[in-house]
């Protein structure tokens, strides 16, 4: 993720040191705040960033699974980058297990009378099913990647130790290619299905349930559409940076940027549509137990400011900007737009969670703790992706060069 293109191939940027540094800084601040400062705030920031960064990785990998399921041929170099986000899956799973320690601070319903909902909403069952769901999702994602790598590495070779181990394994027991290809498609489809189901479950359990008396049947779908939205955004950012950096041969054609830009634009609309679809129904029904949640977040101070920021930053502004065709082919401009949208969705996560943790807030309690934990999580995600590319550096060689060889 080097933002400064440099011709100096001999002296690579110490990316891993930077990312580990960010992770360590975020982790230290989290630990300090959790132990001596305000543990509730630290754990809530942890939950927010766990959801946000996991969704990025899950959504980006969805792109690859989707493209292979529909047998798309335009997206070659983009799927290679999308698959790199799989490296965050094991990290995300560990981070979820750690979340167990903070249960006192992130589940406001623990000490409430749930009027019968406790059958579903109790800590062991909730953690059990979410852990199972995430294991399933990540397992399917990694299995899909394993099949996918066979076809990529077979043509391109692998110089990293893990890549060599995989190649040696396939050399010893050459798999049946036809069967492998069809199994890849099956796992791709299963990943898509699991994505929708598991992200819905996570959305209901970890986000919606923080206000246990409110419910929205569309919340699950809204959660996974949002994950697709930011996953595609992250994919555009990463492939733009790799494309612009002169340290590797990675190259994305103009029309490929245009197409992924259009997809991103489309999901901007889908995201807004899912929000509006639920909003209209609640507005029409006008039932107090449904409207309270929406009124608190979108109409009452202080949260309404945040709601409008999110709506303008993630829908109105990108909608008007992305109508332009040329801007979608410019990687620099798209990086800025996607980063702004992702920042908006991060705030949107905060908007959903914040009011449940801070009742009767006078001001938006957003500050350096949330930002510091976000930096730590970003470091983890970036380090995972960098490790992936260090294992498979051939994926960053231009496909054009491959053809000439």
């Amino acid at each position: 993720m080097s933002t400064q293109p440099s011709k100096n191939q001999e002296n690579p940027l110490p990316l891993m040191k930077i990312f580990y540094g960010l992770t360590a800084a975020g982790f230290l601040i989290f630990i300090t705040v959790a132990l001596v400062g305000n543990p509730a705030r630290a754990w809530q920031a942890y939950l927010l960033n766990f959801l946000f960064f996991s969704a990025i990785a899950q959504g980006a990998v969805l792109f690859s699974a989707l493209m292979h399921t529909v047998k798309a041929r335009w997206s070659g170099p983009l799927t290679d980058v999308a698959e790199s986000f799989t490296a965050f899956f094991p990290v995300s799973l560990v981070l979820f297990v750690i979340l167990f320690l903070g249960q006192q601070h992130i589940f406001p319903w623990l000490h409430e009378d749930l009027h019968g909902k406790e059958v579903w909403l109790n800590v062991p069952f909730m953690f059990g099913r979410d852990l199972f769901g995430l294991c399933l999702l990540y397992g399917l994602g990694l299995t899909f990647l394993y099949h996918r790598l066979y076809f990529t590495l077979k043509d391109r070779g692998a110089s990293g130790p893990f890549g060599r181990w995989l190649l040696a394994r396939w050399d010893q027991h050459p798999p049946d290619e036809k069967r492998l290809a069809s199994r890849m498609t099956v796992f791709g489809i299963l990943y898509l299905l699991a994505f929708a189901l598991v992200l819905s479950l996570v959305g209901y359990d970890l986000v919606m349930a923080t206000d246990p008396h409110w419910y929205s049947t569309l919340f699950g779908a809204y959660t996974f559409v949002k994950a697709v939205f930011i996953g595609f955004g992250a994919l555009i950012v990463l492939s733009s940076i790799l494309h612009l950096s002169s340290r590797n041969g990675y190259h994305v054609e103009k029309n490929q940027f245009h197409d992924i830009g259009k997809l991103f634009f489309a999901f901007c609309l889908v995201w807004a549509d899912f929000f509006y679809a639920q909003f209209v129904v609640i507005w029409y029904g006008n039932i107090p137990e449904e409207t309270a949640y929406v009124i608190e977040r979108t109409m009452a101070a202080p949260w309404n400011v945040l709601a409008w920021t999110v709506f303008i930053g993630c829908f109105i502004a990108p909608f008007l900007i992305l109508l332009n065709r040329r801007i979608k082919t410019m990687p620099r401009a798209m990086t800025v737009i996607c980063l702004a949208v992702m920042a908006g969705i991060w705030l949107e996560h905060y908007l959903l969670l914040g009011p449940s943790f801070h009742h009767h807030a006078q001001y938006i309690p957003l500050g350096w703790v949330e930002a510091a934990v976000a930096v730590g999580f970003f470091g983890l995600l970036a380090a995972a992706v960098t490790i992936y590319f260090k294992q498979f550096p051939e994926l960053l060689v231009s496909r054009q060069e491959q053809l000439i060889d």
Binding site: Y276, F279, V280, W283, Y284, N286
Partner: protein, 170 residues
Amino acid sequence: MPADTVSIMGIFSSEQRAALAIDGLRETPWIIEQVYSPIPSHAIEHALEPPKSRVGWFTLAGGIIGFFTGFFLAAFTSLRWSLIVGGKPVVALVPFFIVGFEFTILFAVLGNVLGLISQARLPRFETPAHYDERFSGDRFGVLACCSEDEQDELTRFFETNGAEIKTNDV
């Protein structure tokens, strides 16, 4: 068109040759008047480098008009019988926005079609004199005009590019 110019039609059997001839013609002072193709061809489009299509502006205008039409249609019809239902305002923004959105799409599509028709100057009931029926079959046509004394030169140019020549006395 001044009287001392002639139009010469080169008929090509391949898309590639037609595109090459267009490329060549653009470097000469001769003017390309018309190009016919039986298929939508990217090669010919790249060679011609036509100015940006204006159809998009029709779509945009249609969309904007449609939004306000839809919104005001909904508002107007509710105000005809301004009855408060379910405690909602008579002109309610939240649901009327949806009507506006649907009309945005409808009018944008209609604007697009109108834009296409007007920009392509359709319908045309008469085919021009130089038109050859094979342009709807398997041949590509490039019509260029030059001054009368350059006629032979342009004909040679077409022939070296592998074209069949058709001349019209305009």
